[in-house]
């Protein structure tokens, strides 16, 4: 492999007189990019740019006057920045809505992690009557559209007298069938010997779960937590139905209610940027778990 200077050669490799790195006994390592790799790199780069462009445009326009967003051709220059859109946004109840969204999303995330991992453990490692039926019943809920259960759920929450409270927002989201499914699939792969050893050491059921299962299951719990957070953060319909007053709104619902009949693009885009920020941070911080989340449960055994 060629380097411009000897300092850039990895320490574990050797360097010859022509500044070429090589491993002992392996000869020179020459990096060759094949044609098809170059083509796929170019195609993927173009696709990535195409996907990122709307986000770039959204953030850019949120710092520009509202008329800039509807200009044709689009105004992509960096000039004419203004904070007016964000001033308008922050004048409202945005802090209350953001804190409501955080309460709901974090509680949903913790509920999913704690309760669903317990359920997943029971389904994966315990034997009890009706286990299979119950598990498939839970899985079948995943195939049911959220809109279908909205009316009965609304009636239930209303009859419990919980409408327009945090409980109305939290109770339906504390447990998620997807999280139970993912937890169960992952925990099935934990060797039985590990649990046997724990029991022989005198671990109670709770301790086995907390000290053995939970640490080993951290990857899946991270995924469940992240998915739980994002789902609740982005949810619109249920918070809209379950809340009545301005101070109980979540961010998504609150921002929608700020929009008058004539669309203020600056405000919309500033709101979208504000809403997206935590999700972007979360994604950047935990992106390896996202990728893992796509494959967990794909292979049995």
């Amino acid at each position: 492999m060629l380097f411009s200077s000897s300092e850039q050669c990895p320490k574990i490799w050797n360097i010859d007189g022509d500044n070429r790195c090589y491993k002992e006994g392996e000869g020179l390592v020459i990096l060759r990019i094949k044609g098809y790799q170059l083509v796929s790199f170019i195609i993927l780069s173009i696709a990535a740019l195409a996907l990122l462009f709307p986000f770039y445009w959204m953030v850019l326009q949120s710092f520009k006057p509202p008329t800039s967003a509807i200009q044709t051709p689009p105004d992509l220059s960096w000039g004419g920045f203004t904070l007016d859109n964000f001033k308008k946004l922050l004048d409202g109840n945005i802090w209350v809505w953001t804190s409501n969204s955080l309460i709901v999303a974090i509680s949903g995330m913790l509920g999913n992690v704690i309760l669903c991992s317990m359920a997943g453990y029971a389904f994966a490692k315990k034997q009890f009557p009706g286990k299979r039926i119950l598990f498939w019943a839970i899985v079948s809920i995943m195939m049911t559209s959220t809109q279908i259960i909205m009316v009965p759920l609304f009636m239930q929450i209303r009859d419990m007298g919980l409408l327009n409270t945090y409980w109305a927002l939290l109770l339906p989201i504390l447990v998620s069938p997807l999280a139970v499914f993912l937890s169960k699939q992952f925990m099935q792969t934990i060797p039985e010997d590990l649990l046997e050893a724990a029991r022989m050491d005198g671990c109670s059921e709770w301790r086995t779960y907390w000290n053995i299962i939970v640490p080993v299951s951290m990857p899946v719990l991270a995924i469940v937590g992240i998915f739980g957070f994002i789902t609740q953060w982005n949810d619109f319909l249920w918070p809209l139905l379950a809340t009545e007053s301005r101070n109980m709104r979540t961010l998504q619902v609150g921002l929608a209610s700020m929009q008058l009949q004539n669309v203020d693009y600056g405000l919309v885009l500033a709101g979208a940027t504000w809403t997206m920020a935590p999700i972007v941070i979360l994604f950047v911080a935990f992106q390896r778990f996202f990728v893992k989340g796509l494959t967990i449960g794909a292979v049995k055994g």
Binding site: Q71, T165, Q259, L260, Q261, N262
Partner: protein, 454 residues
Amino acid sequence: MRKLSIILATVFIFGMIMSACAKDNSDKGSTASQSSEGAKETGKVSEIPIKLWIYPMMNGINGDGNGNPDDWAKEYARQFKEQYPQANISVELLDWSGGTEKIDVGVAAGSPPDLVYTINNFGGVTKYGKMGVLEPIDEFLTQADWDDYSEAVKGAIKYKDQAYMWPWLKMVSAVAVNMDLFKERNATDLLPTSRELRDWSLDEYLKAAQATTFNRSGGSKPDVYGTVVWGKDAPFYMYLNGLTNGGNIVNPNFDQSTITDKAFADGLQFTIDLANKHKVAPPGGAGISAMNAKEMFLNQQIAMMPDAPFLLEEVKKAPKPFEIAFVAPPHGEGQETAAWNNVGGFIVFKQKEEEKKKLVMEFARFITNAENSKIVKQIGTFPARNSSGNLYSDDPVMTYFDALSNYGNSVFSRAFGLVSVGDWEKEIQAILTGGKTVGESLDSLDKLIKEKLQ
């Protein structure tokens, strides 16, 4: 591990306690209900809770833009409570994207609001009237009330033979014209601006559209179009030529579909021909939305488009502001002009108690009385009551719209609520893409309308 578990448990428990303690730390009860606390304590008045749902239309107590979108409604609630201390009114703000779903869920769950704002093209009167979940308001409307409404308004508040909506505002559409483009093309004489009602025929409209379809750089493909035909959102504008050509969606008694009549079909065919045959509208109309059309108009890529008077304010904020004029929608040979007429107001859902019903109706009357209706000027519309007077005497554009509102067809706008917006869009898209003929699409709509009318 132990530390982590303690932290997690603490956060979770704290969150739960906070949730439990925070049972509605809200402004739920509005000004009215806040002031009702005192009444509760004294026990002098047994309160009647009333739920009012509104959409974000204007900000502030007077609708002047300074404040929140529900301030004006809360102010009305407060004023009403001064007259009726037993009224405990809570105001809830819906939003344009999910409000209708929320009402539907409330209706399905048996707990709709007591009264909610709706407008003809939402189809609320027709939809909920047909479901039998609305209170008729006929017995609460006096002769003086009826005399105070124009024919267009009277027609818009009914489902079958009963009135269900307390009319509050009316709006009407016209054709917005970019005068700068017409001047650039020396085509201003093709516009009907010198006529009293500024009305014109379909042929005249086509000539004006052809004159303003051009390429600025001299190429063969136009970059400015005379008009626009779209397939997504606000589809009522696209079917309007069926009405102005002498047809309608249903008959005046609102019990038979007339959408397949030749006059309506020919009018719709004219609209489609603007795009597909005469090429005076941007290509790909099936994928264009009303919002896209407006953006093109504001960017001076379209010379004429149907719209309401609010467009005037948007043009002032356009990337390059231009001179705008409004003219009447074009009409078929031998027809008088007709306009998209939209009446908004408040519908009252079924009440179990007579006393509460009376109070809710009284509140609806209060919001929509001649004086309180004047607030709708803030959103560029007209009060539904004639006795509110001419609020736009110093505004020639709005004075023109007021004159045009007499030609608003309420049967057409009400009938739009019979079929879902998605179905109207689907059919116009099918015609624009050549998937169906005008006749085939109207046959499909005819079946849907007949089902709804049965």
